[in-house]
Symmetry: C4
């Protein structure tokens, strides 16, 4: 087996391990929603009411599923541009996975205490930490140590801008959490705006240069 | 690495991530069955009675294992016809995985409240949502953006008809849930019938055309 | 992509999905051992006593880890002889995975009720069911529909005899469970004996034939 | 399919299974941190206090995530030097995975009983057991039965010295656990020292020989 194949294999194993952690964290979210058990012979409406009381948990499940899915997609996109393995990415990646693995706790804390500010801010801070690690991972995965030689500069710039806009969107969510705790996660909606802004700035810079 | 290889790799990673979520959701089902703990020196028959009381949970485990297995097999069959990755499938696939990941909750709610209508209808609605996302995923995975050029038209038609018959079977289960809650999941038994109907209609249309 | 490659890919995905379920079931075993929480300032010896009381759970963990590991190794060995995918294996394999996924419950029931006969017999019956599905999976995976053309007849015979001896060993454990419940799992120790017996019989038959 | 390809496939499946167990164990750590649920209308500061009370659990999560990550990296590094599969590694590897899978329990026991010596010593003993199995796995994976023919002697020596220094670091943690229970895990910080010592000794021996 050639040395390059071995290196590719190390990259593959890292990606695989990360995928597994993302998949487990995303699926563990459901464990925090406890099925209500009603006494035998309860009225049908009581069951629907019991479900309605779980509404915050179900909303929390959907939001966190989306958030973890978002980070997985970013990871996916960045490593699609990598061809070589570098141990420099290991620490940042482990930090990212550790924060993603912590999301089920942050979600449960949020869902069990809707209407309060602290759990919402805490959730957004967790997201911000994940976004920070993600941004570092993307930098290294698309940097000189790991990037595929033939990867287009534009694809790299896009992936990097995207990871930075996730960081800005998470920071927006934290700030929003202090003002409008119930709408904090809506801060993520600003991600495309940040991305447009960053890409626009880059395009202008590019235009000036040429 | 050629561009096509990279694209294949993205497809592989998507399939892998989906498989992991299916596998985790299917295995987490067991967590909702709590082992009874009897006082030291209890009569042997008391243990078997304790197990018998868990009958709904064990039945729920078997049904949901079958249901998730069914969706996994459909996913498996559809992506066996795909050769290219397209980001168009991501959203639908995440929706499917999110609904599959939610099945352990729906199962626990059903098992803890047998004989009631609401949990049974809720379970079937979850199944219907999964069937809807599954149908969309299958359409995209076997559509122009992703399908393998050499895939036989008949194989594609079969996989699509199958995914639509799962949707119809789940809808039948929902309707049945309102009438005969305890037999609702039996609605899935109609899937082969719907498939035969759909395939028969397609064959007749085909025959008329030629 | 050639048709054979596609078929190999379907086989790979099946193996992967099975591996994931084995890995998750084996790791979920630990969830059933609840960490004792002692009051602040408790004597050091009280902590060790708390651990000692968990002895049945830890023993159960080790046994079930071994049992699931054993089944995984058998699966591993059988599919190493397969080269083609066949849908005939799907049902049996799903049955096997469903039973393996059920092991954490059987283990918890056993560990919480040591010294009783019923949980021990129930555990062994679960093992017997897994052994039955496993035997069917091995038959199909090494049968005409899936086997690699170049696989040695001896390797096939060995893998099949091994899967049958696991079935006999599990049946021995069930029988033992009725007589000596605390030693039931020790019935698995008879697996190598059954294997020797089966292999010896096959060798004698072979010798007579030539 | 040639025999070597088959062997590689067996190695790949073993590595995959191990990765999955590592990933699940590392992600299950979060399950042991239970989200506090405060009464509606509680003061904001009460939420932060509730989080602060979970401090030991969060620290435990971070430490164990690091420890499992460390073992995963060692496994990764060793198998990057293997090219052939050997059944000799199976038993040791299963022992390693079983101990890693047990870490969530040891972590929960430690986090729930900070300030006590026994849980800290128990945690370090678990780590020591993992380090022992890991050392054996690394010996076999880089030994004559499995090693890639072209692997550099220095890379092998490094990986082996590293696995032995993890063993020594864990032993240091156990000893430290008896003296300074709250700092026991800090014993792992000695790993690089042991590694330097071992590598220095090897270099001197090498120098003397030439």
């Amino acid at each position: 087996m050639a040395a390059t194949t071995k290196t590719d294999h190390a990259l593959e194993r890292l990606v695989f391990f990360s995928d597994a952690v993302f998949a487990i964290a995303i699926t563990l979210l459901v464990i925090e929603i406890h099925a209500p058990h009603l006494p035998h012979g309860a009225a049908e409406v009581a069951y629907w009411q019991a479900l309605a009381q779980l509404w915050p948990n179900i909303v929390g499940y959907v939001i966190s599923f989306g958030v973890i899915g978002l980070f997985w997609m970013g990871h996916h996109r960045a490593f699609a541009l990598s061809a070589r393995y570098s141990s420099k990415v290991l620490g940042w990646n482990l930090g990212l996975l550790g924060t993603i693995g912590f999301m089920p706790f942050a979600t449960a804390f949020l869902s069990s205490n809707m209407n309060a500010q602290a759990p919402s801010v805490f959730y957004c801070l967790t997201m911000l930490l994940a976004a920070f690690f993600n941004w570092r991972v993307v930098r290294v995965a698309t940097g000189p140590d790991m990037v595929e030689p033939g990867a287009s500069a534009d694809a790299i710039a896009y992936v990097r801008a995207r990871s930075f806009s996730v960081l800005l969107g998470s920071a927006t969510a934290v700030v929003l959490g202090f003002v409008l705790p119930q709408m904090a996660q809506a801060g993520l909606v600003t991600i495309p705006l940040w991305l447009k802004l960053l890409r626009g700035g880059a395009a202008r810079k590019e235009a000036r240069r040429t």
